[in-house]
């Protein structure tokens, strides 16, 4: 390492004010109206009467610097040189001159950035790392998201859903992608295969044992060496032992499958926030385009689009029609795996005579 000339300043999270559009800065905390003029465009008005139009576009998140520079150039050309990114890796351009909205949309579109993701569209998928960078992934992330967004392009650039749709994907069961209206998550189906030669050197055995949610791991001597042993009857194939102990290989090209979950919601609007629920599993990890996953996601979205009432999020829709109807309308099979057997699972059993026929 070359000699350092700089001494670290622990500056933390930077002040956004120097980077914020002046109209947003001026009216900070003083907005009082918004509307959705068209897909991909937001309109906000401040108490002062100041107005701002936001044009929102999708990106690939994992961007080469050429793409970033292109986005910066567009900001200079159309939007006073300011942008922001949303919590879902969409980029937002703020313009104070309504006349610039359409040219900006055109420029973004011409440059391959889909304009949309606002209001009742399907926004960008919450993104994780996958084979590109993570040390434990069962599948890719950027690739899955690209394939999905190609499929869902129409619903990104249009606002035809009953309410916002938030998707996430996660390349292992840890689920860095989070709770979502539809979540696509790796689901392993076989216990880890242990490379006993490596365990002693690589893994801190007590802490691995402690990580297992079902206490299926115990220390053992294998071929005379200290290693670990998994009770395969107990193991639920969650993969939690793999990060602290890479010799406990959980990933498998065949048996690491993909599961689909629906109805997660973080917002407090109407119903309380709620977790997503398992609806489909056993889908193959079919790189490079995961067509089986896309097909199920589209089926669910179509049913929701056709049947949901205005302002019903995915979970609100299902709450209204009931789970039997969800499985009927999507044609997805209902299996014993849908019935929770984890701690507290009793809370999800139907403890009433409320039944739809």
């Amino acid at each position: 390492m070359a000699e350092r000339t700089h001494e670290t300043i622990e500056s933390g999270a930077p002040d956004p004010m120097p980077y914020m559009h002046p109209v947003m800065k001026k009216n900070y905390g003083k907005w009082n109206f918004h509307s959705h003029p068209k897909p991909g465009v937001l309109y906000h008005r401040a108490e002062s009467g100041d107005e701002i139009w936001t044009v929102k576009a999708g990106t690939q998140r994992q961007m080469d610097h050429y793409t970033v520079r292109k986005l910066a150039d567009l900001a200079d050309q159309f939007a006073d040189g300011y942008v922001r990114f949303t919590t879902r890796s969409n980029i937002e351009y703020m313009v104070t001159d309504q006349a610039k909205v359409e040219p900006l949309i055109k420029a973004l579109t011409d440059n391959g950035f889909p304009v949309g993701g606002t209001a009742n569209s399907v926004s960008m998928v919450a993104h994780t790392q996958g084979w590109l960078h993570c040390d434990i992934p069962g599948t890719d992330a950027s690739g899955v998201v690209k394939a999905l967004m190609d499929d869902l392009y129409h619903d990104f650039v249009n606002c035809e859903m009953p309410n916002r749709v938030k998707l996430s994907t996660s390349c292992c069961e840890i689920n860095c992608g989070g709770q979502a209206d539809i979540a696509i998550i790796v689901q392993h189906t076989k216990p880890p295969k242990i490379n006993h030669d490596l365990v002693a050197n690589v893994c801190e055995r007590p802490s691995v044992v402690a990580r297992c949610p079902v206490a299926a791991i115990r220390p053992a001597l294998v071929n005379g060496k200290p290693s670990l042993e998994v009770d395969e009857k107990k193991c639920i194939c969650c993969g939690a032992c793999f990060p602290p102990c890479p010799p406990m290989q959980i990933n498998d090209p065949e048996h690491s499958k993909i599961a689909i979950w629906v109805g997660g919601k973080n917002s407090n609007a109407r119903s309380r926030p709620t977790f997503h629920k398992l609806v489909a599993a056993g889908l193959p990890n079919n790189a490079p385009r995961w067509p089986e996953v896309g097909a199920v996601v589209k089926t669910i979205l179509e049913a929701y689009k056709a049947d949901g009432r205005p302002w019903e999020r995915m979970n609100d829709w299902i709450d209204r029609i009931g789970w039997p109807a969800f499985f009927e309308k999507t044609g997805l099979p209902f299996t014993k795996y849908h019935i929770d057997n984890w701690r507290g699972g009793r809370n999800s059993l139907n403890a009433s005579a409320h039944i739809r026929f």
Binding site: N175, V214, N341
Partner: protein, 435 residues
Amino acid sequence: MAKQMINTPNLDELESGPWPSFVTGLKRLAKDNDMMVDLMGQLETSYETKFGYWKGGTVGVVGYGGGVIPRFTELKDENGKPKFPEAAEFHTLRIQPPAGMHYTSDLLRQMCDAWLETGGSGLIAFHGQSGDIMFQGIKTEDVQRSFDKFNEMGFDLGGAGPALRTSMSCVGAARCEMSCYDEARALRTVINNNLDDMHRPSLPYKFKFKFSGCPNDCVNAIQRSDMATIGTWRDNIRVNEGQVREYYNAKGMNTLVNDVISKCPSKAITLESAAKVDKSNAGLSVADLGDGNAMCIDNKNCVRCMHCLNVIPGGLLPGKDKGVTILVGGKGVLKIGATMGTVVIPFMKMESDEDFEKLNDLARNILDFFAENALEHERTGEMIERIGLVNFLEGLDIEVDPNMIVHPRTNPYVRTDGWDEEAEKWFERKQAAAA
């Protein structure tokens, strides 16, 4: 038979006030019953010291292992002698009533007579919380003859201990338009075919059946029984338009909206312009209100909660395709906290002889599964909590159904390598049902 009444200043306080006083009753009995004199003595002591003084024991009748609740006093003097010797034994006979708790006046009097004739105290409770008539206060030596007397009259002991317990069914078909099946028949089918488990306790713990004619659940089956049989229906709510209009004209639009429409838990009821009602929708129950409005019930979305039927009795009635929902696992607070029963059979017809036979088989299978799989002192609710609902269903050969859950699992903690086979089962069932 002329023991002096004991001073009971505490109990006396319970003679005032408008509600019928059990103390007055006890005193009436004590006048010519020494056991009751002493019983009052012990009870008064409890009121003073705030302690109970009974302990259990073993008292029974020939051939039976349960049905009598033995009570021996623990209130003794320094020499270990009972302070109130005449009530030193004060057992209870649990007798099963006619299903639905119907009595003639003659039967009531005969029961009083039988009780007194055979040494009973004269105290009777109609009924215990499980549904027994409780004949309270008899000595060990009199138990057998008292039972024999009741048995001769056609009555039998109920349950106690780790056994099948006495059951209850609501008044139901006898006097209620909500009733969706013959509750009394169901009760008698299930109970009377399993009396061995009632009279000779050898289950892991108690097991209760309860029978309600509809989801109003007037016998609290869902919470207080291991297997709850609750009436319901699959087709459309029946509408008696005249009756609905009578309600509407009397109460007005606001009340209809506030009390009926907006209280439907699944928003299955809507108010429509009568002209625009979708007549092609076979799943719609419609009541034309006569003023251009119509109340419509989307039966696909109705969860059979009973509310609207309750508010407009006779105007809205259960459908004609009736049957029952069966829920398993309700119980009290020991040792995991109280549980409700959960759905294991969303719907089962309950009309023909075969239907009742099927109910009987199911009940027997559940009892057998419980007997084989529960730990000692474990109720069905706890057993299911421990082994998981799916294992319970598989043990009984019952297929999974989304009506068994409020929502699918929210955690990935499950091994799903049999997914494709399980999915196949579902598709086959769907196909078979469609064919």
